[in-house]
Symmetry: C2
Subunit: 121 residues, 2 copies
């Protein structure tokens, strides 16, 4: 299998974009793009599976990436969800580090974060 | 102004759909649809403003509604956000009703809700 020159963060970002907007692709685009993104097959392997040229797979994968990115540029939903998830993680950590001595403080912090999340929705 | 035969829940639902997916409409569609949805003008008033027929406005508004609904049918993002918002409201209420006697219970409940929200993201 060909090694891809693609960093982990980039893969995660593409996966999030696909998770949010993938249903807006056609069935054919999803079929090909999933092999690239989720099954991690090389372009040549996908080309064989789908019965189109390697260049055809390359173009389709690139186009799908652009389509998903253009939805994010307009709707910013991935960005919004990451922000909410981070706030919730902070809340979880506070609960993990909970100490009975400062329950007042922690409850106030949780309330503040909860309000921030509601405002971010 | 013409009274619209449209319930409050329906308006709220349309407003949420527009809030989430409105940026996927064209500028012209947004211009007309906002007058209908946000400024609450009648079809005749919008027709005068925009310089198209009342029937043209009617068709455009209907078409915009369908476009926004079709995005929701595919992505379910409004449904997901409503679910998260409801969970956060429960959390807020728990904090409002906080009583020092049962801080252990409330913190466990908050942790459970927080995990539910993360899973729903």
């Amino acid at each position: 299998m060909m090694t891809k020159v693609i960093g982990m963060n980039e893969i995660l970002e593409k996966a999030l974009l696909y998770d949010f907007y993938g249903e807006l692709l056609t069935d054919h685009q999803k079929y090909v793009y999933e092999q690239f993104l989720l099954e991690d097959l090389s372009l040549s392997e996908i080309a064989q599976n789908v019965g189109i040229s390697r260049q055809g797979v390359h173009d389709l994968v690139k186009r799908c990436g652009h389509i998903l990115e253009s939805y994010e540029e307009k709707l910013h939903l991935v960005k919004r969800f990451i922000s909410i998830k981070n706030k919730l993680r902070v809340m979880e950590q506070m609960l993990d580090n909970y100490n009975a001595k400062d329950e007042k403080v922690i409850l106030e912090d949780i309330r503040r974060i909860s309000q921030e999340i509601i405002e971010a929705l």
